[in-house]
């Protein structure tokens, strides 16, 4: 596979060179940050420096708990929040849905967006920033205003948006390093105020026990500091991609919704997503049907179902990254036309 033919950045992204350097530096600083000796204290200093850099790069003035990733950050938020979970959007990632129990599901419209009017709730309300299957951006400023008007607390899964868009307006925010060029195995929960959570004891100010992953924290900081200027190019590439796909019979899912330009969902009428995936894979192109986690499960997408998309089993996800080129997009379009029987 040519390195540029990877169109699955929503599943994971290549590690940025800066992040790799930071990781290797971290491997060399292997002391336990909780140890009292000099090596331990040096590791502690490096860890706190990484935390400060992550917060600065994100523009987050509150607290930050380092975790093993977004799934753990979300479990920590829901499990330890003082406010009971009252509602989650119907299009949340499984990491939230499986925690949701009998909390209400907030319906989305055909564009995949939650209506703020339904969010006037006095408990914890979980709405993602960017959908991992469609790229649809939720109106979190309006949603947060509605939740807070009733005294509630907003939890935003920002796994797909962090490092790309400004942080959403929320009280608890989950992020994952490997979605923005950092390593797998590092993430964080951003906490507006410690008073929102019950502590558990242990490391991370008593909110996350376990020896800290210093290499992961250093690499997450480096990845965030690499910035998001590439999204301007991605915007143009996405327009190029969608114009060509539509001309080749594709239906763009949530075409008129505000969407992150790095993630798009497209339907190829008459071809199952599974069949498409096998063909694209054979041509050396990595795309996906829905999330990586659920791929292979053959379940229909709960996201597309919630939006009322017709024939959701014919939809694939194409997600662009920092290294995606115009040539790669053109190759993908040519492949699409071949799979669709147009070439």
């Amino acid at each position: 596979m040519s390195p540029s033919l990877y169109f699955d950045h929503a599943a994971t992204t290549p590690l940025l060179p800066q992040a790799r350097e930071a990781l290797l530096d971290g491997f060399a600083r292997w002391a336990n940050p909780s140890s009292p000796h000099r090596a331990g204290r040096a590791a502690r200093t490096a860890l706190e420096d990484a935390r400060a850099r992550i917060k600065a790069a994100l523009g987050w003035p509150g607290e930050l708990v380092l975790t093993s990733g977004a799934s753990e950050a979300l479990a920590l938020a829901v499990g330890r929040a003082k406010a009971p979970l009252m509602a989650v959007s119907a299009v949340e990632h499984e990491a939230v849905l499986r925690l949701a129990g009998d909390a209400a599901r907030l319906a989305v419209d055909a564009r995949g967006q939650v209506g703020p009017a339904a969010c006037v709730l006095p408990g914890l309300v979980a709405v993602q920033q960017v959908n991992n299957e469609t790229g649809v951006i939720q109106p979190l400023a309006e949603i947060a205003a509605a939740v807070r008007s009733a005294g509630g607390v907003v939890l935003a899964d920002a796994a797909q948006g962090a490092g790309k868009l400004p942080l959403p307006d929320a009280d608890l925010i989950a992020i994952s390093a490997h979605k923005f060029g950092g390593p797998i195995g590092a993430g964080a929960l951003l906490v507006r105020d410690w008073a929102l959570l019950h502590p558990t004891g242990g490391q991370e100010r008593g909110y996350r026990p376990g020896t800290e992953n210093l290499p992961g924290a250093l690499a997450m900081a480096a990845a965030l500091e690499a910035g998001n200027a590439w999204l301007e190019d991605a915007q143009a590439l996405r327009a190029r991609l969608e114009t060509a796909l539509v001309a080749s019979g594709a239906q763009v899912i949530a075409a008129d919704a505000p969407r992150l330009c790095a993630i798009g969902a497209y339907r190829m009428p008459g071809k199952s997503a599974t069949a498409q995936l096998i063909r694209f894979d054979g041509m050396g192109m990595a795309v996906s049907a829905g999330s990586a986690c659920s791929s292979g499960s053959l379940r229909t997408s709960h996201v597309l179902d919630a939006m009322g998309v017709a024939q959701p089993g014919e939809v694939i996800r194409v997600s662009l990254g920092r290294e995606t080129t115009a040539d790669a997009v053109d190759q993908f379009v040519a492949a699409w036309r071949a799979v669709a029987g147009l070439a």
């Binding site: 596979m1 040519s2 390195p3 540029s4 990877y6 699955d8 599943a11 994971t12 290549p14 590690l15 940025l16 060179p17 790799r20 990781l23 491997f27 292997w30 002391a31 336990n32 909780s34 140890s35 009292p36 000796h37 000099r38 090596a39 331990g40 093993s68 990733g69 799934s71 753990e72 479990a75 990632h93 499984e94 990491a95 939230v96 925690l99 390593p183 797998i184 195995g185 590092a186 558990t200 004891g201 242990g202 490391q203 026990p209 376990g210 020896t211 992953n213 290499p215 992961g216 995936l277 694209f280 894979d281 192109m285 990595a286 996906s288 990586a292 986690c293 791929s295 920092r322 290294e323």
Partner: protein
């Protein structure tokens, strides 16, 4: 800096580091050595394959007849074991790590505490209350290195119908796997692997409830994208422990014998014989440990566990041995292993002994 704190964490093995590098790839890598192992496309399948190779390498550290669930570390593995088992009535040894004690207390505020003797050992014949649903006893204590009779204790737990959980963080890769346990937790960075990954071994047929929900990875027990790099590093470290086990053990035994001569005049905390000999927990009446730590800056050693350091609380482990609060505060922990050289021990002993002597103790 002489590193003698092997119980807090261990140096990353060069082999483990090398195993991670191919899976820390960037956009230039034609094989996409960064893919999500849960993706069905070709690079995803290659990443999944490396995860499974690593799983087999790690599985060799456990008993036969179970499955390995990768977690972010031993703390998460222990939480998953205790909370996920659904056990309501718990019995745990008095010298468990905080990751077990705190979680167990959270699940059962009225839990039974299994005492240890002055030698730091749980009596294999200890009474386990009827109705107990989970018993947790560690394989090797993290502060004093005592090796617990886990096989006998597992049998006793089973006799009252309880599950047996073994925190094998300090023993994994060094001692034989704790036979008879139903759940075993380990951590990569304690056996020369990377931080940020550990594993829970679950006996076949045992069902747990997940703690971290989401994409349904690890058979639904532990969601979250697995890092092929961390898995590969863990796997390589585990394989190295397996292949070097005899030489590692001989090396540690030689260091132990040397250390006993170097630290004459100190009192050993915990059994000398039922002990991992890479742990030397010593005390000297009247010693000011905080002062010793600040004066011996060229030696990395500790006072008790890294997690509890700075808390100022007396060690719950040493108190369980029957030491007074005052005596618990005169103890230091020296930990050594594969990469420690005898000359380093000698130099460290000279520094520590001189500093203790300067205190007049």
């Amino acid at each position: 800096m002489i590193y003698l704190d092997y119980q807090a964490t261990t140096p990353l093995a060069p082999e483990a580091r090398a195993a991670m590098l191919p899976w820390l790839a960037g956009p230039e890598d034609i094989r996409a050595g960064y893919a999500n192992p849960h993706s069905p496309h070709r690079p995803g399948r290659a990443a999944a394959a490396v995860v499974e190779v690593a799983r087999a390498q790690v599985a060799a550290l456990f008993p036969a007849g179970g499955r390995v669930i990768f977690t972010s570390g031993a703390t998460e593995a222990l939480n998953l074991a205790i909370a996920g088992s659904g056990a309501r009535r718990l019995a745990v040894s008095a010298i468990e790590h905080a990751a077990v004690l705190d979680t167990a207390r959270f699940c059962d505020p009225a839990l039974a505490v299994l005492p240890v003797g002055a030698d730091g050992l749980v009596d294999a014949g200890v009474a386990i209350p009827q109705g107990t649903s989970l018993v947790a006893v560690m394989q090797v204590n993290n502060e004093i290195g005592t090796v617990q009779p886990v096989e006998e204790l597992a049998a006793r737990a089973h006799a009252v119908g309880a599950l047996f959980l073994c925190d094998a963080v300090q023993g994994a890769g060094k001692l034989a796997a704790p036979e008879g346990a139903d759940l075993v937790a380990i951590s990569a960075h304690k056996l020369h692997g990377p931080k940020g990954i550990g594993a829970l071994w679950v006996r076949d047929g045992l069902d747990l409830k997940p703690l971290v929900h989401g994409g349904g990875q690890e058979g639904g027990l532990r969601s979250g994208t697995l890092s092929p790099a961390l898995c590969a590093g863990f796997g390589a470290a585990a394989a190295l422990c397996t292949s070097l086990r005899t030489s590692d053990e001989e090396h540690v035994e030689a260091l132990w014998k040397r250390a006993l001569g170097l630290f004459e005049g100190w009192v050993l905390n915990g059994s000398a014989t039922h002990r991992w000999h890479g742990n030397l927990n010593l005390r000297k009446p009247g010693l000011d440990v905080a002062r010793l730590l600040s004066e011996c800056r060229t030696v990395a050693f500790s006072a008790g566990s890294a997690c509890a350091s700075g808390s100022g609380r007396p060690s719950h482990v040493l108190r369980a041995l029957g030491l007074s609060d005052r005596d618990t505060k005169t103890a230091i922990r020296i930990g050594f292993g594969r990469y420690t050289r005898a000359e380093e021990l000698e130099e460290a002993a000279a520094v520590l002994n001189a500093a203790a002597q300067a205190q007049g103790v």
